[in-house]
């Protein structure tokens, strides 16, 4: 009887989820504050914090240059980093549960590249229409998701290895399209483009910033609402079906939302790799595999992770910058190797 009661107590509950999420939100607020103070231009700490707590309503003794650096340059970039990190980690957690594969990740599955191709096509053909970029990125991500899913599903079902192979095929195919389009561009755009492809958050200060933020929040909520179904899907599609999950409806929902999350973040910042792998893995290790807690934790953890990575990217060789994708890959690739050995 005692063991059962212990198992019951260790179980993830609504209360525990709320407490965990509140702690993560608090951490996020602190990290946003700290990251906005760091950068090549030194800002006075107390004045900046004062201005931040009023959300920019008061200048708190900052010069107008300092105020602009804080609110026009750093904060939008930090918010974009949070949105991109949250989106990619949420999408990764969703793919992993749905595809029953701890290695599934938007970048490795080729979904990010699909979104990148979509964004490029939007730039080429509808360059003046800002809105076309996230929409085309979403379409590209969706096409890549279904392509990988179809390729990975053999007669014996999708094994982890087969899924990763399908991801490699889709990724390389889309990469060749990207290379093809890039070489058609003029030389001045190639560099900024290559930078963007590696994941670059410097284009944060645009009118489109609310899009990735809204998508991240809504996407995370919808995925969390499907978390209990995903818990059963992690055990197998047939099991989930037998226990009452409407498998095809949930699958379509996750694919759509994950593609939307990846599309909106790639359109805004290029392909930041490995976030969807590193973050859900770390959250599962610390809060368990119950998706009701691990998905929203991954969202907040992803936001934290990319803010930190981007702060490193823009300060470590200041005033020059690294693409944030280089930092996330530096952390992510070794972890992938570690996970591959365990699967």
């Amino acid at each position: 009887m005692t063991t059962s009661r212990q198992a019951n107590q260790n179980r993830v509950t609504f209360r525990r989820t709320i407490i965990t999420l509140l702690v993560l939100v608090a951490a996020l607020v602190i990290v946003v504050g700290a990251a906005s103070l760091l950068g090549s231009e030194r800002l006075p700490v107390s004045n900046s914090l004062c201005a931040l707590t009023t959300l920019g309503a008061r200048q708190c003794g900052l010069t107008s240059d300092q105020f602009d650096i804080l609110f026009q340059i750093r904060l939008p970039r930090i918010l974009l980093a949070a949105a991109v990190g949250g989106s990619l980690a949420t999408a990764g957690a969703g793919y992993q549960a749905l595809l029953r594969n701890p290695l599934a990740e938007p970048y490795l599955l080729g979904v990010s590249n699909g979104a990148a191709v979509g964004t490029m096509l939007a730039l080429l053909f509808f360059g003046s229409l800002e809105w076309s970029r996230p929409l085309m990125a979403f379409a590209g991500a969706l096409v890549a998701t279904f392509a990988v899913y179809r390729l990975a599903r053999g007669r014996v079902g999708a094994t982890p290895e087969r899924l990763i192979l399908a991801g490699v095929i889709v990724t390389t195919f889309l990469s060749s399209i990207i290379v093809f389009v890039t070489t058609m561009m003029d030389a001045t755009r190639i560099r900024s483009f290559t930078f963007w492809l590696l994941g670059d958050l410097s284009g944060a200060n645009t009118g489109l910033l609310p899009v990735p933020i809204a998508v991240a929040v809504v996407g995370a909520i919808i995925l969390t609402l499907n978390a209990r179904s995903l818990n059963l899907l992690m055990l197998g599609e047939r099991d989930a079906f037998d226990l009452g999950v409407e498998v095809s409806r949930v699958r379509v929902t996750i694919f759509l939302i994950a593609s939307l999350l990846v599309g909106s973040s790639v359109a805004a910042s290029g392909s930041v790799g490995y976030v969807g792998l590193v973050v859900p893995h770390l959250t599962r290790l610390s809060v368990g595999s119950d998706n009701r807690i691990s998905i929203p934790s991954a969202t907040l953890g992803g936001a934290l992770f990319v803010i930190v990575a981007d702060t490193i990217a823009r300060t470590v060789i200041a005033p020059r910058e690294l693409p944030v994708g280089a930092i996330t890959a530096l952390i992510g690739a070794p972890l992938f190797i570690y996970l591959l050995k365990r699967v």
Binding site: T3, N8, P160, R228, L235, F241, L243, G244, R284
Partner: protein
């Protein structure tokens, strides 16, 4: 064919006879080309997934687990269809009570905090059964539940199913290759070949040498079990 309360039906037949297809159709995951399946007088095709899962539960060979999960969480998975908005979709008191009760019933209490992949084959199959019982569905469909189990675990598992049918008037349909196990636990036997029902009836009516020879293409000896008296089938080479 009819599944009645309190009755255990065993489905036997050679490989490819359509046993699993039958089970998948009864569960609503395959749609039959002809004929209808009624669940409490309503056509299965017209019912929602949740409505079916509240009435019918399946015990299959457990799929490979790729994420860690405790036995308790695994069994609680059976409460999915009973999720409601009063607990925000989380498990309520009643769900926990039911999970505790089926863990008692399947004697998994001691193991409930353990990880599923730490269990032995027999224990794991009992956990799969426990999860199915936790759904409280009155109809149990079992797809070769004993295929990987040793002698004592086979008897334990089917004993639990038998007990459920007796105590709660549940009905069970068990697909098995083990004719003698079927004879021991089932009230009704359904003999299938090539997608057709060859014979359905009590063990004494179905387990006769001529029928079995026709269906399995092998000579068999049928005698009475010395203790239980049910038919005992031995292939003769």
């Amino acid at each position: 064919m009819l599944l009645e309360p309190g009755v255990v039906t065993a489905v036997i037949g050679p490989n490819g006879a359509g046993k699993s297809t039958l089970l998948r159709s009864l569960n609503g995951s395959l749609i039959p080309n002809s004929g209808t399946i009624l669940l409490n007088d309503k056509s299965l095709g017209k019912l929602s997934r949740r409505a079916i899962a509240k009435q019918i539960t399946v015990v299959a060979q457990e799929a490979e687990l790729r994420f860690p999960i405790t036995v308790f969480e695994y069994v609680l998975g059976g409460r999915f269809v009973w999720a409601n908005s009063t607990t925000w979709g989380w498990e309520g008191e009643r769900d926990l009570e039911v999970a505790e009760a089926v863990l008692d019933e399947t004697e998994l209490h001691e193991l409930s905090g353990r990880m599923m992949n730490e269990l032995s084959g027999g224990e794991r199959q009992r956990a799969v059964l426990a999860r199915a019982l936790a759904t409280e569905a009155p109809i149990l469909l079992l797809d070769e539940p004993t295929a990987n189990l040793d002698l004592s675990h086979q008897a334990t598992l089917l004993g639990l199913v038998r007990e459920r049918c007796n105590s709660r008037s549940s009905s069970a349909l068990v697909i098995t290759h083990d004719i003698n196990l079927a004879a021991q636990f089932a009230d009704v036997i359904l003999l299938l070949k090539g997608g057709q029902v060859v014979k359905t009836g009590t063990t004494q009516q179905v387990l006769v040498p001529d029928l079995l020879r026709e269906v399995f293409s092998v000579d068999v000896l049928v005698d009475a079990h010395p203790i239980s008296g049910v038919p005992r089938v031995t292939p003769v080479h």
